[in-house]
Symmetry: D3
Subunit: 277 residues, 6 copies
């Protein structure tokens, strides 16, 4: 799902950024023929994400580096577990070490947090979804990490989903008008989602044929009432600082989707290190 | 310090990523001549960072958008404070909203955390420095945010600083050899930093003329002893999971630099929103 | 809807391609201070498309060129009508002439053909939609030209719509399985479209909850029967060499969408020329 | 003649445009290890062009895809003929299908039309040439397709040929002055072509040493008279809506070159499909 | 002739290369509001080239910098003469100083050398031309500098001129075959140049209709004899280490073009400095 | 030290620049299956530099070209010596010939000149260093060529070294203030260099803790006195038109570094040719 095609540019920019005009420490202290062996090691429990990127990074930096991947993308590892073994020219491995970890740790951090959120709502009808609150330039990786952790993706960008918010409603002159205008421009393949803040708005959205209704910052009681009111005539999404709420309680209201911006806007890198033999 | 020259490419990529082939919701529901006014609002206390980028983003997206900046880059704001006012074509502002917040929230999050770390060691001789554990592709912004929060920058990349680590020492055949080799290749303008794990290594580093000695994962007691031993003959840097330690205690050992990877590898976005009138 | 943001790169590449290392004829024969005036002239009836691009092209090439646009984007012009007046430095206008016409003529050609198709089905419930059979690299312009001519857009690319075809069905083990798998991976904002070739497949698609059913290369009679069978439970799209068919007859079967690859794969440039005073 | 060197960027842009952040239908419905076999099939008679590009596209997308090319670049195929066989991972082939066809069909469409024009003038001294009326960004492919179809290329861009038109003549103060000025700036390796509209202009062009004389929109009789008058002292090019004229009649006037903008400005994609076993 | 369009990318790359992630010396020692005035000063006699680039560089770096250009592009200056005055923000001027000089000094060095060569052959029929022996990536600037110094340009690249050399002749099976094959592929707007090493080859080239004959490394006597032999039936170019020869003697043999690789392959930067008031 | 990673973009740009839309002479006169063999030959004594780039260039252009490198990077060759043998498809080799020579000749020219400068000061304590007076866009190659010739590199760009010059001193209000300000912003890994023009300035620089003192345009006597005065408390760099001076005399004053702008601003290409069998 992460193809070389989508990764190469990101990896090259990251390498250029970190290597600049050359890794002068390594070039001066390590001879060209020196070989080295090491292991990517989990220093805490977590869900690993980013292994295809790790592999591709060294392919681009130096194809003679060998990588043996032991962990499985998207599966939990425990503290002390070896994620992958690496061997080859010491210069290339030392030069690529930091960038490889920067990617792997962030992506695994996101997958781990998502996995934890998904477990909290296990057994309910809801799914955990991400938002567009991603790191500029890295959305493709971060949305992939959410999926890897068991979450769902919300729209990728402003072009591939219609989400009518407060200001769109005001500008269009009401929910009915907004939905009608959006339906005209959008391709027929897109559903229409509307953000609502009151029961009156839910009523109008349903009558206008909204496919998805987003409940913005509602109380648990209001969400429960909204789900009853919608009664399966549209999908229901719970939204608004979900990162700070008890997700299970939210899920038990019967909503279909819980979107959590914190999955990607507040990232704690998973602790992974590269240890050499 | 953040020039258009360095920002434009980052901003363009972020806009392309988020807008794709067009913001279909906004284009269909908001008429071309609709004007709008709003405010960037701090929803919690923090240190603001990223205002030049905010200004440049709208210059690139639509020069007719007006931005009145009220907060000062690098200074604290309190919850409820207005950071900037924005007005102009509703389409452009709504389309640029998410990307502008994604940048501003992350950068302010880093500046806020750095500011807090700097305050913890106030009055000591130490400075708080960042590392290369930054988000791939955004290092220039993240290192700027650290400076904005009152921190110092460590080397920007592998080309503009010599930092001899464990594996370089082994590969070169010892600290003495590694320093000597690095001195030959490096420009005469770079100092030489060596990572040490023992007092014997400190001794060897001092004798070989290391300019900076990095104490890797030492206990507080060992750091104190190391600072005594080095006695001003080299700068001393404390390193190794500093994000989890009491920074004041570390600073009081007398080290010159405390480098904290967590400043950039574990980022909590500051809560900022764009509210429309 | 065509923002500078999306146009600039396309225009720059086109100018680089056509100008190479310099327009030697113009630079040698036309003095730097020579001014010129001219008109973009419709040499046949058609629907004009591409005026924002025309304006932006000269802004990028030479901001001192003045363009007065007389026609309206998306509206018909008749043979002999002046589309826009241009004046300014002769060198810049002569150098940009060919590229500006290459864009304008192609886009107007697509808009004109789309407009004609839309008129053929006037009064029916159907809309005319484009496909992904666009010129590589110019999709954003060609889909815009289709909208400008009164058509609808089908999905923009493989990421923003689910269209399950023959081979996906086979690979998944049946329509039911394919829809179920797609539903899991797709964001909740996307509808699911399935291509069918038989009535049995329509039945299965409906039972599996397909949102849109594409009738591939069916006869008029079969399309009529299919529309009856589907009875509003899904949108219906007619597809397959529609460029060669009588669109009104197709529309009268009751389908919702008629997708016509020829709108963009077989383009006849509208005859437009730039005449100087 | 189409090297990877010139194709890669075009192909990558086309793939990015069509795939976006991922082919979600294929990724969800087709398993990673599924293999597939298919054939590129001519659905009408034509001249095939673009086979090197087809091969390179799959090399870039997925090197494990195998392509066996059966048709010969630039040679006619008949309806029903297999152009190439393809086999390998179903995901890669389905994802690359549309872009591969978009290139192949357009280029074969141009080659086919050119071939037909060339046949119309068989046995005369004239050649069929293209113009700069090409699709922005794809000129290298379209001029290659013209050559593949048996045509000749006119200048590639404004930098590699001197063509003095109406406005250059006016700006320079006459044909004599224009030629003299152009001769000074141009490299000595370029011939000088002048566009003329009258016999007086032909006379002046010959006396000024024009290497090529372009007859713009002349009647057949005038062209015949012009060829007589020029009498081999310069090459003669016929130009002006040649796409709508009887090319054989034009050729029989004795002109050397007939340039036909419609070869590239009005393209009908050849009907080619990819059928799977 | 050097448009922003062709310069911007070159300038941006040069600035990125020299500034990296920021001019730390200037940013730390010079306050943001500090203004400065200075002059670009000729420290030796020469011909100035690169003024449009100088102007554009500061427009891109900081539009508030003012530049008053006193010298004329392509005209001689004497030691001590002020070429241009500059004033504005000290930070921007100091940061752009080195790159501006690197361009200006190299281009003026080439123009100066060319000017000197042109003067040596004043009054003869010959022109001085450059070659493709230019600095990789800077050809457009270097060929412009040659023109600015009074020289002529040879072909810009392998696509816009036909020059049949030794190995092409061997591969084609002789001069006659090579010319015939080249004529077929080339556009009709290109002349055909052939490199010859003997009088027999000259004979064959003339009979095959070569437009230009390049005499490769011939003695002065042989060149004289060749010019006689060719007798105006083709242009004659003298080539081969012309940088080491007496150009006037070569010119007096009657050749039309003398191509001098050393104009661009061996560059001595003109001594120019930026002095502040 | 020159990795593919850093070379590829430079090579591609150079090839694009020289080949344009195709090498028409070679494509028309040389058949696709023609093989050729040749040798890169030193036509004068010199130090070879650029062999990794030569290898990479043909890998990118055509991987079937074989290159056997006989000379050693950075070692002297004598006139007539074969540097490398090349064999493979004639088309690819002829098309890449000029660009390969343009790189190799310039880089070897720089290495040769540097080698000669280094030999002049053999046995002294000084090293020869380059400056930022490099060809825009090619700094990484030119600084590498200096190292290959035995020289040292000065800072690579404005971001990786602090060099306080005249104007920085004035703007900061004196050497003491400038050093203090620079120390605050710079990373702790950079030394601080100050340019001085008088003994009073040397005194102030020493007292302010400058790590390196650059003597700008001083006489030999003054340099000797300065070295005495500094007495090892800082490194000493001699600068200012060193290309025109007797380097041994400069070195014997006891300075540590002699920086020579002419190493890169005034380049004489080494005479190397590609001869075919």
């Amino acid at each position: 799902m992460l193809t070389n095609y989508s990764l190469d540019d990101l990896i090259r920019r990251a390498l250029e950024e970190d290597i600049g005009h050359g890794d002068i420490t390594t070039m001066s202290t390590v001879s060209e023929d020196k070989q080295i062996e090491g292991s990517y090691l989990a220093k805490e429990d977590g869900v690993i994400c980013g292994l295809p990127l790790l592999a591709r990074l060294f392919e681009l930096l130096d194809p003679s580096v060998k990588l043996e991947i032991l962990a499985k993308e998207g599966e939990p590892v425990i503290m002390g577990e070896i994620i992958a073994k690496i061997s080859g020219p010491a210069r290339s491995i030392l030069t690529g070490e930091r960038v490889s970890l920067n990617f792997l740790q962030r992506m695994s951090g996101i997958a781990t947090r998502t996995h934890s959120a998904v477990q909290q709502i296990a057994g309910t009808r809801a799914v955990i979804a991400d938002t567009r609150k991603t790191t500029p330039g890295l959305r493709i990786l971060e949305k992939y990490a959410v999926r890897t952790g068991g979450g769902s993706n919300h729209r990728f960008n402003l072009a591939d989903g219609i989400l009518i918010k407060d200001n769109h409603i005001k500008a269009a002159g009401g929910i009915t008008q907004a939905i009608s205008k959006a339906r005209k421009m959008a391709t027929h393949m897109l559903k229409i989602e509307v953000e609502v803040e009151s029961f009156a708005q839910i009523e109008e959205a349903l009558q206008s044929g909204a496919d998805i209704i987003m409940l913005d910052n509602m109380s648990i009681d209001d969400m429960t009432r909204a789900v009853d009111m919608i009664a399966g005539k549209a999908l229901v999404e719970a939204s608004g600082n979900m990162g700070d709420k008890d997700l299970r309680t939210v899920a038990l209201t019967g909503v279909d989707i819980i979107s959590v911006g914190a999955l990607t806007h507040t990232v704690r890198a998973m602790d992974i290190s590269l240890r050499f033999v």
